[in-house]
Symmetry: C2
Subunit: 157 residues, 2 copies
């Protein structure tokens, strides 16, 4: 909710990216008080955009804020949901963060670890732009789908 | 640290179980202040023994105590260490617990999920006796080794 991106470049990006659409769904699912109800999708995702300059201003000394933790969880849940849609395999997500902002983001199905990302400086989680957010989400989703196609027996174990 | 078990039945059990020996190592590794330094191995493990009656007395309404969380982590770390020794595969451990005592215990290597246990009522984590603790730890270790032998390519991915 810190920076709103330029509407001219973002009005259509959510409509064009099934990953961003899924991410919007994940964030809205957490919006128990309806704060985002009347917000455009781009605005809902604006807190995922953190400029390099802004990142430098965020201290990595303290705990990871609960809002940031929730954003990380939504990001990997959106990836899991996209992988599920494509493969039909139910995926589980766990985010494990230490107080210092280090940790793991895990997505698995059956006995197959579909995504295992190490997190560093999680306090600064975010991307330069919605485009980069979409690209990164789609890249991780694609590699997850590929590993399921490669080891289907383990995914179904 | 609540119940000490009968020394007559336990004096040799740690010596006979490589799993319990590993568990003792894991617990002592967390003993930063040397509280357990002069304790016998059986005494170090005594907090893993929780009788059925004692379990009933532990409320599952609140958070899982940090001591209990650490015991769960030590239990699965000991399993991971035993699997590593047998297979040479480096294993990672994550325990993910909700405030209600539900969650996951995960052990993985490469892209293979070696152990994925759902935790329930984690506030009451413990076993009837050191024998049962050893049996359960060895059973989970064995199944982990078997799945690595079955899918070596995924474990090394």
């Amino acid at each position: 909710m810190s920076t709103t991106t330029n509407p001219e470049t973002t009005t259509s990006i959510v409509a064009e990216s099934s990953f961003l659409q899924e991410l919007v769904r994940q964030v809205r699912a957490q919006d128990h008080y309806g704060v985002y109800r009347n917000w455009a999708d781009e605005l809902v995702l604006s807190s995922f955009v953190v400029s390099k300059e802004k990142k430098r201003q965020i201290s990595v000394d303290g705990d990871v804020e609960s809002g940031t933790q929730l954003r990380i969880l939504c990001f990997y849940r959106a990836i899991a949901a996209c992988i599920e849609k494509e493969t039909g395999q139910l995926c589980q997500v766990v985010i494990d963060l230490s107080h210092e902002g280090f940790g793991w983001a895990l997505v698995w199905t059956g006995r197959l670890m579909v995504v295992s990302a190490t997190l560093r400086d999680a306090q600064r989680f975010g991307y330069d732009s919605l485009e980069k957010l979409a690209t990164q989400g789609e890249k991780v989703t694609k590699s997850g789908i590929e590993i399921i196609q490669r080891f289907p027996e383990v995914a179904r174990f």
